[in-house]
């Protein structure tokens, strides 16, 4: 999708800290339109993440932004960078992560807030200050490092 210029600039400003964070956790992140032929989507980022206790298990998390930093991203797990988004086996087993629904039911992503509109109010509302891109990526890594059970089978 087409991302407004303000959102693009805000993401460029904040992505450096995300790169640094994931690199220090044996992962990485690429913006879709910087891959291969450069014809991808500037609103989409592909993160490679690994659980601390299972470093041989690699997960590919797709973050799609709609307006940044004011709204949460869609977060999906894929079979590879630019891979299938409809494979439950691409998902980790973590409380609140729903491989069979292909979504995360937590107040940290578009899918979670759509399932629970009440999360848009109060202390669970999406934070738009600081670096929310880093925050949500840190949260995914934290879940993998502290709440990971296995890959969904």
């Amino acid at each position: 999708m087409s991302l407004d210029l303000e959102s693009q600039l805000n993401l460029v400003r904040d992505e450096a800290d995300v790169v640094s964070f994931l690199t220090s956790h044996a992962g990485g992140i690429d913006r879709d339109d910087r891959l291969g032929d450069g014809k991808g989507d500037a609103a989409v980022y592909w993160a490679t993440v690994r659980p601390r206790t299972h470093p041989d298990e690699t997960y590919f998390a797709r973050f799609e932004w709609f307006t940044y930093p004011y709204e949460p991203p869609s977060i999906k797990f894929a079979t590879s960078v630019r891979g299938s988004l409809t494979a439950p086996t691409a998902w980790p087993v973590v409380v609140g992560y729903r491989p069979q629904s292909l979504d995360i039911c937590r107040p940290m992503c578009r899918e979670g807030f759509a399932t629970h509109p009440e999360w848009n109010q109060g202390s669970t509302a999406w934070p738009s200050t600081g670096n929310p891109f880093l925050w949500v990526v840190e949260l995914v890594q934290y879940h993998l490092d502290n709440e990971y059970e296995s890959r969904f089978a």
Binding site: P107, S123, G130, Y142, D145, N146
Partner: protein
């Protein structure tokens, strides 16, 4: 462990806590190595102006792992002089 080694381990450490969505900068402090994680957490929450509520709690993560409240800076970081934590909003709904 010699007395010198024991004294060295209990020296002060510089602590830094980051919280990505805070408009305030990181929490920094110099603390004795025997300071508990719970003490650091309380000070960091005060700095970032956040409080726990029925839907979530704030915890400190060190090197990606939850840091237990009753552990000390020495327990978590050993002889390291500089200790970095991330403040995590631990949400439990799902």
């Amino acid at each position: 462990m010699t007395q010198l080694e024991t004294s060295s381990k209990k020296d002060t450490k510089t602590v830094k806590v980051t919280f990505a969505v805070s408009p305030r900068g990181p929490y920094t402090a110099t603390e004795p190595g025997g300071t508990t994680i719970a003490t650091v957490l309380a000070a960091a929450k005060k700095h970032f102006r956040v409080v726990d509520d029925p839907q979530f709690v704030y915890v400190l993560a060190f090197d990606g792992q939850d840091a237990a409240g009753d552990a000390t800076l020495d327990d978590v970081a050993g002889d390291a002089r500089h200790v970095k934590f991330t403040l995590v909003k631990k949400i439990t709904q799902g």
